[in-house]
């Protein structure tokens, strides 16, 4: 039982990161139907900016804020200077544009910061541990889980409980109608891109102390976060969170009790199974189009 609890704790910590990545993916998909393949690279860029600011002796909170702002800015600029001018492009064309952004950002990060593996300074200790009975939780893991949950809650409150969130939902449902009602759709889209970028940056900052910082650190978490979003339902924010946590826990328990070698395979097998039973994802809604 202790073993299982320990695997669950490990899975929760990993799952909270997957959930953060998934939230960014879903946030954009809900509003624009664009799958952002540059999400991981935007997150990496934000984390490197935070790392540089930390190196310039800025307090941790300011450095992280700077990193998140940089990630948000990249999202906003991409919307205004690439997606907006290409508004006539098909959905597939826009997705390919995000792939292009991923390549550009990946290359830029390697040129500016190099490909070395770096240690990301983090205020929480990786070796200071807390014991709940026999179960051990490190300060970093605890911090990751708590921060992840706080960020998810804040996002939920923003989307569901504020006027900005209402505008975001309106634009997501029908951009033309929302604009006719006086909602500045372009600015709302830009805000969504910025928020998604900042969420990715937050995931990067939480992940970097756990897996070290390098230009490729988001590759696996992005794939898993993307998969979590699909599993939870691409248009459901709670679904993204649920998918992230389920995926993290399933991976951890499967690896612990069955096989490390097929940990990732299993994660995707579970997703296929879920989609076979519920093609719209765990908490996704079925859309019926009238013709």
């Amino acid at each position: 039982m202790t073993q299982l609890a320990q695997y669950l704790v490990g899975g929760l910590a990993t799952g909270s990161l997957y959930a953060l990545v998934a939230l960014g993916v879903v946030l954009l998909y809900r509003s624009s139907r664009v799958l952002n393949f540059a999400h991981g690279d935007i997150a990496t860029l934000g984390t490197f900016v935070a790392f540089t600011l930390l190196g310039r002796k800025l307090p941790f909170s300011l450095a992280v804020a700077g990193g998140l702002a940089a990630a948000a800015l990249v999202g906003v600029l991409f919307f205004f200077f690439v997606l907006r001018p290409a508004k006539e492009a098909s959905l597939l064309g826009k997705i390919v544009l995000t792939l292009g952004l991923a390549l550009v950002l990946g290359g830029a990060v390697q040129v500016v910061w190099g490909t070395e593996t770096l240690v990301f300074p983090f205020p929480l200790s990786d070796t200071r541990i807390y014991r709940v009975g026999q179960v051990v939780v490190s300060e970093t893991s605890l911090g990751t889980i708590v921060t992840g949950i706080v960020l998810m809650t804040l996002l939920y409150v923003l989307v569901q409980g504020t006027k900005v969130g209402l505008a975001m939902r309106a634009v997501a449902q029908n951009a033309d109608a929302a604009q006719a009602l006086g909602i500045p759709a372009r600015r709302i889209y830009a805000l969504t891109w910025g928020l998604a970028g900042a969420l990715g940056g937050a995931a990067g900052v939480l992940l970097a102390p756990v897996v070290f910082l390098d230009p490729f650190m988001m590759l696996d978490p992005f794939l898993k976060g993307f998969a979590a979003a699909v599993m939870g339902g691409m248009d459901s924010l709670p679904g993204a969170v649920l998918g992230g946590f389920l995926l993290g826990i399933a991976e951890s328990v499967f690896a612990g009790y069955i096989s490390f070698k097929f940990k990732t395979t299993m994660a995707f097998a579970v997703i296929i199974l879920v989609l076979l039973v519920r093609p719209e994802g765990l908490l996704g809604r079925v859309y019926h189009r009238r013709v």
Partner: protein
Amino acid sequence: MRTLTRLIIAMTVVAALGTAAVGQPAERGVTPTEIVLGTSMPMSGPASPWGMGVGGGIDAWLRHINAQGGINGRTFRFLIRDDAYLPPRAVANVRELVERDGVFGIVSQIGTANCYANRDFMVESKTLWITPACGADMWAGMRERNRYVFITYPGYVDEGIFLTKYGVESLKAKKIAVFYQNDLYGQQGLLGVKRGVHAFQAKGAKLVAQVSYEVIDAEVTAQALKLKESGADTLIIYADPRRGALIVREIAKVGYQPTLMSTFTLMDPMMFMLAGEAWNNIYLATYMPMPGMGDARTDAALATITRINPALARLPFNAAAGVSFVEPFLEGIRRAGPALTKERLVEAMETIKNWDGEMIRGVSFTKDSRQGINRMFMVKSERGQYTKLSDWYTYPKKF
């Protein structure tokens, strides 16, 4: 008149062909003033610390030789291609270097799986290959086919046996666990430990867990828990620097404190930076004197390459390893003389007997053996330094 014209044209063609033949270099990648060498390394991705250290070390040492006027009037041009530690890219890189860039030889290469993917092409194309940095055991049984391969790098199977032997005999290891990368590199290390455990069964040695990770895995939390569950008193690590650092941190996090042993591939002091305090009291095998352990020649060579490329100061062991890979080859070129050909170089390399370089020591090749070294010793990490613990341990030559 017509016959005379035909004769003149024929003679002109023959003369032109003859001139072209004279103008061609005697050997691919060798001109009167230059020797072109190449390699494929992980300059990006999880194994980039290896690629940047080893590739940078080779490059800096060749620049140092060039600054001294080269060897026998020729300087070196060194082409590095990034394979990101991916075998398919390593294959494409090596083919491009050999077939398009026309290099004289491939120096090193990193990753057992990457080298294995290239082995048949290198053997069939009869390309010189100097110390591929991958488990040397893959050359065992290939005596007839490895004429152009020269290796001063240990096999992970031999190393795994040595680590187990030292663990059992000197550290009282009984229950042994292995954390390994699930590819040929980690699997060979695991095989070595299994053989070691088998050999020391009578002394109570037992393999209680073998826990792997995939090269795409971002974190190893579940692996750390599994290792803790195993109750092993000794953990042997065959991983890349990132996962090696992660696993020692993760097991510290879950309160598990076995005796830690590791392959020499994780010897670089950058591990102290990545793993911090967790990289203390680790027992590692090594096949050459470490920079900073009191060997003046090694320290001087490291100072030389770090003057040329200051970034190498962060990866001293890997940079030193890079120098050790290319040194015997340069000695072979010296011995081959000015009329350098592949065959002359092979003959010259076969005359190297118990030769000491600036980094590598005791290198010997013969007509029948391409295994330049077959010995290791044990060191221990303590407060950011490595301390020598044992004398040389010699293992049988296999190829």
